[in-house]
């Protein structure tokens, strides 16, 4: 059998993945598992999905040759401009897909979790578009530090509910969303924001985000006369933008995959979110994967200057890419990321999200050959991070 890094028929990537869920969730997750592929690949679904990606999201997103950045690092760098999508990041590719899925499953009520608020905004946006009830769970601490996104969600008609349990951040918001789903098993669809959670979520979200690498293929063909790059670089928190950027190349070993995690104040500083290095095999949010935890198995709170990367787990696809050494994992500190974000702003006139800045910092730590083609997934724009940039650089 051909070696594959895609999910297997039981919902696993190697030993990672599966659906470790309470029985109360079994009917919902099982219904989704049985139907998601059939629904996604119906002609009418694909037609509606592609139409919305084009006319509403603004796809295809450009593949931009970054001439000055390339000159500085003496290699050929392309930026996949997911930052130009409606709502400012790749997140909306998934929420468009899942809201269409929810409609076809006959669901009338949408729930979601959010950390920094990006996925919450992307979910509230598609719920407004489709006229669906929308409840977003967000940690009490995150609500306080991400006020503009809370306001956006409210303006879009969503209800933002504070997660008051545990550490009152993303992982607890996810717990609360799961508890809501347990209590509302019939009419509700849970739009998970990343390639995490029980099978089939990691695979379903990866397939919706795969549009990123599908476009890369024809865009590279046009620009370079071949459909694949030598390297793809993407940042990884839960891992959805990386899953999308890697997807078409997972089994194409000509392409080196580079996943960039947040080292926070340093991998061993005690304030880090570098899950692959610091995590151990375990269960989080219904998935077997690598996660940051105590030796007694209590899940710990990660740290990164970027709110989109401080998830204590990582999607099971990425855990497998790490364990199998298919992908190269690099950790980038807060300082390295901030410097790289400033550099892109001034070399190319693009202010990146701080998550994306972590990926950009790879050029300073790892050399590429002059004739190599490197695609970096520019997953989001930096508007939401201006205050952090201002504080950091005393702008």
């Amino acid at each position: 059998m051909k070696k594959t890094y895609h999910v297997n028929e039981k919902g696993y990537y190697g030993t990672f993945g599966g659906a470790y869920i309470p029985e109360m969730l079994y009917p919902n997750v099982e219904e989704l598992r049985q139907k998601y592929l059939e629904i996604m690949y119906e002609d009418s679904f694909q037609k509606e999905f592609k139409q919305l990606l084009k006319d509403y999201v603004g796809r295809p997103s450009p593949l931009f040759f970054a001439e000055r950045l390339s000159a500085k690092y003496n290699t050929k760098i392309y930026l996949k401009r997911e930052d130009l999508n409606h709502t400012g990041a790749h997140k909306v590719n998934n929420t468009i897909g899942q809201i269409l899925m929810a409609k076809r499953l006959g669901k009338t009520r949408i729930i979601a979790e959010t950390g920094a608020g990006q996925h919450g905004v992307a979910t509230a946006t598609v719920c407004a578009l489709m006229g669906m009830e929308c409840i977003v769970y967000m940690g009490e601490i995150d609500i306080a530090r991400q006020a503009p996104n809370v306001a956006r969600m409210k303006m879009l008609g969503a209800e933002v509910r504070a997660a008051m349990s545990g550490s009152r951040t993303l992982k607890d918001a996810t717990n609360e969303a799961i508890r809501d789903w347990i209590s509302n098993p019939v009419n509700t669809h849970y739009i998970i924001g990343s390639v995490v959670g029980p099978h089939p979520y990691p695979d379903m979200v990866a397939r919706f985000q795969a549009v990123i690498s599908e476009e890369m293929e024809w865009q590279l063909q046009e620009k370079e006369g071949r459909s694949y790059p030598d390297h793809v670089i993407a940042c990884v928190g839960g891992g959805s933008n990386a899953a999308g950027a890697f997807y078409q190349y997972l089994d194409d070993e000509r392409v080196n995959l580079i996943a960039v995690e947040a080292a926070g104040k340093g991998i061993h500083s005690g304030e880090s979110a570098a899950t692959s290095v610091l995590g151990e095999d375990g269960i989080i949010h219904g998935s077997r994967t690598l996660l940051m935890q105590t030796k007694d198995g209590q899940i710990t709170e990660p740290y990164s200057i970027s709110a989109g990367l401080d998830y204590p787990g990582v999607g099971p696809m990425h855990a497998h890419l790490y364990a199998s050494k298919r992908a190269e994992f690099i950790s980038i500190t807060d300082d390295e990321a901030m410097t790289a974000g400033l550099e892109l702003s001034q070399l190319e006139g693009i202010i990146p999200a701080i998550e994306t800045s972590h990926a950009l910092a790879v050029f300073d730590t790892r050399k590429f050959k002059e004739d190599e083609i490197v695609v970096l997934n520019l997953s989001g724009r930096g508007d939401k991070d201006l205050n952090t940039y201002i504080d950091y650089f005393k702008l």
């Binding site: 599966g18 659906a19 470790y20 869920i21 309470p22 029985e23 109360m24 079994y26 009917p27 349990s165 545990g166 992982k171 607890d172 717990n175 799961i178 508890r179 347990i182 209590s183 509302n184 098993p185 019939v186 151990e280 095999d281 375990g282 269960i283 989080i284 949010h285 219904g286 935890q293 030796k295 007694d296 198995g297 209590q298 899940i299 710990t300």
Partner: protein, 255 residues
């Protein structure tokens, strides 16, 4: 024969009580177990606290957070339970999530359970098929009964499958939702209790989630073999401490 199966043969409705190990204070675990038995409880679920208890409502979450802050760990729980079988003879079940058990090592965890005299485990986030394919042999080797949950949404076919691989009782979740006390059950629950009662399953059923007092205990055990109270007991401990456990139990049993 496992203590759980012996207890299930008694001709009475069973009251099982859940509490969180290391709550309200770190060293309350053994005292609470002993007082529960003296008060007439038939079976005890000892909650192993977890940072992210997905199936639990606010009351048990808060008690778990407190217990972890108190310093509770798997290792410490086993050390607290070392001599428990010198004073306690009713069935003891550990209820906890899979991740802490995985970190301890599933086989090491099961071996330790047998050593201290634990009779069974309830692990809400362990999938039925994973148990069946990976862990059943280990559980059986150490004489542990694994208890599965069913809910009002569980299909009849799946209930029959769960019944076929269960040995002991089936944990019947009363309604859609996480753990937490209710004051009474409505028609929906009555219909569900009747439906399961009429399936003639080989394993008796014990109802949990939403049972808080004599009324809900009586309703839940009309068709089922017993009922489990968790959140309401935790609330009692939070409010009254560990001195009046018998008052709570007598209230539920209607003594």
């Amino acid at each position: 024969m496992n203590r759980i199966n012996q207890k299930l043969q008694e001709d009475k409705k069973l009251l099982s009580i859940y509490f969180t190990a290391g709550y309200p204070s770190l060293n309350d675990t053994v005292g609470v177990i002993e007082d529960l038995e003296k008060s007439g409880v038939d079976m005890i679920e000892i909650g192993l606290p977890f940072s992210d208890p997905l199936a639990d409502g606010p009351t048990i979450q808060a008690s778990s957070t407190q217990a972890l802050e108190n310093g509770m760990t798997s290792e410490l729980l086993f050390s607290q339970l070392t001599n428990i079988r010198e004073t306690v003879s009713i069935p003891l079940i550990i209820m906890g999530y899979l991740n802490p058990m995985m970190q301890y090592g599933i086989e090491a965890f099961c071996a330790k359970c047998q050593e201290v005299g634990i009779d069974g485990l309830i692990i809400p986030d362990m999938p039925v098929n994973v148990y069946h394919e990976q862990y059943q042999a280990i559980f059986e080797k150490y004489g542990l009964i694994n208890v599965f949950l069913i809910t009002p949404q569980t299909s009849e076919e799946r209930i029959r499958f769960i019944d076929s691989i269960s040995d002991g009782f089936i944990y019947m979740v009363s309604s859609a939702g996480t753990t937490g006390a209710k004051n009474s059950f409505g028609n929906t629950q009555e219909t569900y209790f009747d439906r399961i009662g009429n399936m003639n399953l080989k394993n008796p059923q014990i109802v949990g989630f939403g049972i808080s007092n004599h009324e809900t205990f009586t309703q839940a055990t009309n068709k089922a073999k017993g009922a489990i109270i968790g959140s309401a007991f935790i609330k009692h401990l939070t409010k009254n401490g560990t001195k009046t456990i018998d008052t709570f139990v007598n209230g539920v049993l209607g003594n």
